[in-house]
């Protein structure tokens, strides 16, 4: 396959940045998208040009480190992570436009690399159960209905890649935040801090500069782990019931 790549290049956070075109030949259909970029980078390196920087790590679709807005969609045309996207999803001679995630809360660090630490801070605001190591009850002490455990697992699958923010027209982090709020709201272990958690995580989400939710459903449609927007509804419920009934004035 021969491709034309239109890639966003930006030296650092303060650089203005812009698109640059690259021609790439000899691409195999069996390559993953990132392997295709590896090939480009090897060519650039051999020519002494600075390789295209992009985030990636596990390349198994689970760490959530890879990103990229490919031809107008987060993680490209398939509902998967970029590392699991294969070149058989593209056609010979195609022009592929590659952009970084765009959100005020995800500033670009270099080329296609963005800073997603806002997600960490949302979790730090309350995405946990406050138990210290040791001194916990036996794991089978509280039975959890399988359906509830499964729903919690559905929400817990979020890999924190940020595709939901990237896809959302408002760069909203509702799907990410609600996935964690939901997981812990569903499980008995999460009940103790249920109200405070919803209040604090929503407040942090807003403080990071993410947009509001318009319920377009784009996040769900693009989420590589298929996290459902029912979680958003659940978080809304959790939040509204928390603000009217919690002890936090």
């Amino acid at each position: 396959m021969n491709l034309t790549l239109k890639i966003w290049r930006q030296k650092n956070n303060s650089d203005k940045g812009g698109f640059k075109d690259y021609k790439l030949g000899g691409v195999s259909k069996d390559m993953s998208f990132l392997e295709m970029l590896d090939v480009l980078n090897e060519e650039l390196a051999a020519k002494g040009e600075d390789p295209v920087h992009f985030d990636h790590d596990c390349r198994e679709g689970i760490c959530g480190m890879c990103s990229l807005y490919i031809n107008g969609k987060p993680h490209g045309p398939q509902q998967t992570t970029t590392c699991q996207l294969h070149m058989r999803s593209f056609n010979d001679g195609e022009t592929i436009t590659i952009e970084p995630w765009r959100a005020k809360a995800f500033p670009v660090l270099k080329d296609l690399v963005t800073d997603r630490s806002a997600f960490d801070r949302i979790i730090q605001a309350g995405g946990y159960v406050s138990v210290n190591t040791g001194g916990v009850p036996d794991a089978n002490e509280i039975p959890i209905p399988k359906t509830i455990a499964d729903m919690a697992m559905d929400a817990a699958q979020c890999i924190g890649c940020g595709a939901c923010v990237a896809a959302c027209k408002n760069a909203s982090a509702m799907l990410f935040t609600s996935a964690k709020v939901s997981q812990l709201a569903l499980l008995p272990q999460g009940q103790v801090e249920r109200k405070t958690r919803a209040e604090k995580m929503v407040a942090q989400m807003d403080a990071e500069g993410f947009g509001a939710c318009t319920n377009t459903g784009a996040c769900e449609a693009e989420c590589p782990k298929g996290i459902s927007i029912t979680n958003i509804a659940r978080m809304n419920r959790e939040y509204f019931s928390a603000v009217v009934s919690s002890q936090n004035v």
Partner: protein, 644 residues
């Protein structure tokens, strides 16, 4: 040099309890006067950082990823072992201990392994309390599955994403301590060196991966939780960023590297498809619970298959060789990983491989689907099947999967004593970064167990013993050793940037990987290893004269990051070869072709090699010194492993 493993006296089952009583304690009010550095935020690092912060220590946690949640523990799929015996099928702490020692081919310390089995039960309790959504039965209790190398169901799992859920649990505990101000987090920061003062570890030098700033961090103790070094093979199931640099720098500062040649080759990976391949993808070993491994019975049939003249489903039952079931009737497809991998290699070497490259065997779910129905199989393995289809473009519900072994885990690592401290006082190694619990082969679902055991339930006790004997209070980075180490790091960076050769970094990494895979992979020979050693030496000098590292230090520079890592992998590769050459026996993942039984099984030499081979760095260009820690088995009888 004599290594003191500090194994407590007394009967096996009482060692840890006694030891916990005997170790010195740090008064609760004094804990806040101690600083601890944790490098790496995988299961071991995140759990250690969180637990130590909960106790009151001031923790600084470092990771090279953009978030602690991305550490490669996240990729573990299958599950985590624990001797809960919830299934009433005869499991016990002793049985988990025994299975692990046996699975490791009797090259692990009894005391460490027993402790691991002992604390395993608490890990599950802890994770459930954190909100980890483990799989459950309809009655609401926890579900278990069986795994390779065991005849009981003791593996807890969260769909095919157990590692992810456990890591997110540890990450949430860590995040809570970040919010509490007890942990300061340094993401996108790579450890470049350990700083020792008067022989004790007192801090680290780091590089900020965004700005390139070289910084010193001082602490009373340093914990390396930096994972394994499987990427020395270039192609492995490790993450692209997984590296040996932290451990290797510690090694060069005096920490011994133990059993570096013990690498695990995982049997159920997706086969290599071409030269472009950047990494290999593992599918959970749990697939072997229902999938049957086979190749055509004859080379002729296999050839037709490879040429595309026939399809797998065209091959009749009698023309199939279910080689694991045939050779190991009692364990069948659930033999330990090393045995499964090696047998796959044998049948492929015979010319019975099933894909174009001839390096693949079938893993077939036809019978399982017939027996249980597609829905049950899909519920168990749906995400793995999807992943397989995503990568290969083939539907495993209809066609058998193709698998081939790939480098997956490294049992070797920094030598540690019973307290998980390396021979450098104040420097600890946890999780895959150390060597201690898996001997020559790790059982499935035990890596997660070890990482969390070390972080949640071992280090919080043992670190106190060291800290209590060292004065508390602020320690700064103004000691000349910090300046010296910083200077060395900067010089190395300038050296790498200054070579400006003509070859790319990946060029060297790929070459190193091929040498390692060909000569120090699934099967090794003295001749091959000697050849490999010469090749690596040559590669090293070529690297330092003709690599091209682009860009500057003062920016986000992925070339520079990679260059550091590959430079260290090359040096490690040489040591692995030395270690493999030294170990004139076959055991677990280390298979020397000269040492095998007539049936082709690994032939151990307990008389001469029942020891940990720990290697001491003596200086640039010098052969490393071998230091032996004898392994003493008081509770298990050393036998030839048999899974027949």
């Amino acid at each position: 040099m004599i290594l003191d493993s500090k194994i407590p006296e007394g009967p096996l089952a009482e060692k840890w309890t006694k030891h916990k009583f005997n170790v010195k304690l740090v008064n609760p009010a004094n804990k806040r006067k101690y600083d601890v550095i944790v490098v790496g935020t995988g299961l071991a690092g995140a759990s250690a950082a969180a637990s130590l912060a909960e106790l009151g220590y001031n923790v600084k946690a470092f990771c090279f990823q953009d978030s602690p949640r991305r550490a490669h523990s996240i990729a573990a799929q299958g599950g985590i072992n624990a001797a809960k015996n919830y299934q009433n099928d005869g499991d016990s702490v002793y049985r988990l201990f025994y299975d692990t020692i046996k699975g490791g081919d009797y090259r692990a310390r009894e005391s460490n392994v027993y402790r691991l089995a002992e604390v395993s039960v608490k890990i599950i309790d802890q994770c459930v309390a954190q909100g980890v959504p483990f799989a459950r039965e309809y009655g609401g209790l926890l579900a278990n599955r069986s795994f390779g190398g065991a005849q009981v169901s003791r593996t807890f799992y969260a769909r095919g994403q157990t590692g992810q859920q456990l890591l997110l649990g540890a990450y949430s505990a860590l995040s809570r301590q970040v919010a509490n101000g007890k942990v300061k987090l340094y993401p996108r920061t790579e450890m470049m060196d350990v700083v020792t003062i008067d022989g004790k570890a007192k801090g680290i030098i780091t590089r900020n991966l965004i700005t390139g700033a070289i910084e010193s961090h001082a602490a009373h103790a340093v914990l390396l939780c930096t994972g394994g070094y499987g990427n020395v093979f270039f192609l492995s199931t490790n993450a692209m960023g997984s590296n040996v640099t932290a451990a290797w720098r510690a090694h060069k500062k005096g920490a011994l590297m133990a059993n570096p040649c013990f690498t695990q080759i995982h049997p159920t990976c997706i086969p290599v498809s071409g030269d472009h391949q950047s990494k290999l993808t593992l599918m959970s070993e749990s697939l072997r619970n229902d999938g049957r491994v086979w190749v055509p019975a004859t080379v002729a049939t296999a050839e037709k298959l490879r040429k595309g003249q026939i399809k797998a489903n065209d091959i009749k039952e009698e023309d199939r060789d279910y080689f694991l079931e045939r050779k190991y009737p009692s364990f069948g497809n659930l033999v330990p990983r090393d045995v499964a991998s090696r047998n796959a290699k044998y049948v492929c070497d015979e010319g019975r491989g099933v894909n174009e490259t001839g390096e693949a065997v079938f893993l077939d779910f036809r019978d399982a689907i017939k027996r249980d129905g597609k829905d049950i199989i899909s519920a168990k393995y749906g995400n793995l099947f999807d992943m397989y289809q995503q990568i290969t473009g083939e539907n495993p519900y209809e066609m058998p999967m193709m698998i081939y072994p790939a480098v997956h885990y490294t049992m070797g690592g920094l030598w540690v004593d019973y307290n998980l401290m390396t021979n450098v006082p104040g420097l600890y190694a946890l999780g895959e970064a150390n060597f201690s619990d898996h001997g020559a082969n790790r059982l499935g679902a035990s890596a997660l167990m070890q990482g969390l055991a070390d972080g949640y339930f071992v280090i919080p006790y043992t670190i106190g013993d060291y800290l209590a004997q060292n004065p508390a209070g602020k320690i700064g980075t103004d000691h000349p050793e910090f300046q010296k180490a910083e200077k060395e790091v900067k010089e190395r960076i300038q050296k790498l940037l200054g070579i400006k050769g003509e070859k790319t970094i990946d060029h060297f990494h790929k070459r190193l990987g091929k040498i390692m895979w060909d000569y120090c992979g699934m099967a090794r020979t003295e001749e091959g290893l000697k050849k490999a050693k010469a090749m690596i030496k040559e590669l090293k000098s070529e690297f330092w004269s003709s690599v091209n590292v682009l860009g500057d230090n003062e920016e986000l520079n992925q070339s520079l990051e990679k260059a550091h890592r590959v430079a260290d992998f090359i040096e490690l590769g040489e040591l692995m070869v030395d270690d493999a050459l030294n170990r004139n026996e076959s055991c677990g993942g280390h298979f020397r072709e000269e040492y095998q039984t007539p049936e082709g099984e690994a032939l151990r030499d307990d008389e001469n090699f029942a020891y940990v081979a720990a290697w001491k760095y003596l200086g640039e260009g010098q052969e490393e010194e071998l230091v032996k820690e004898p392994l003493i088995f008081e509770n298990v009888k050393l036998t030839q492993r048999s899974y027949k």
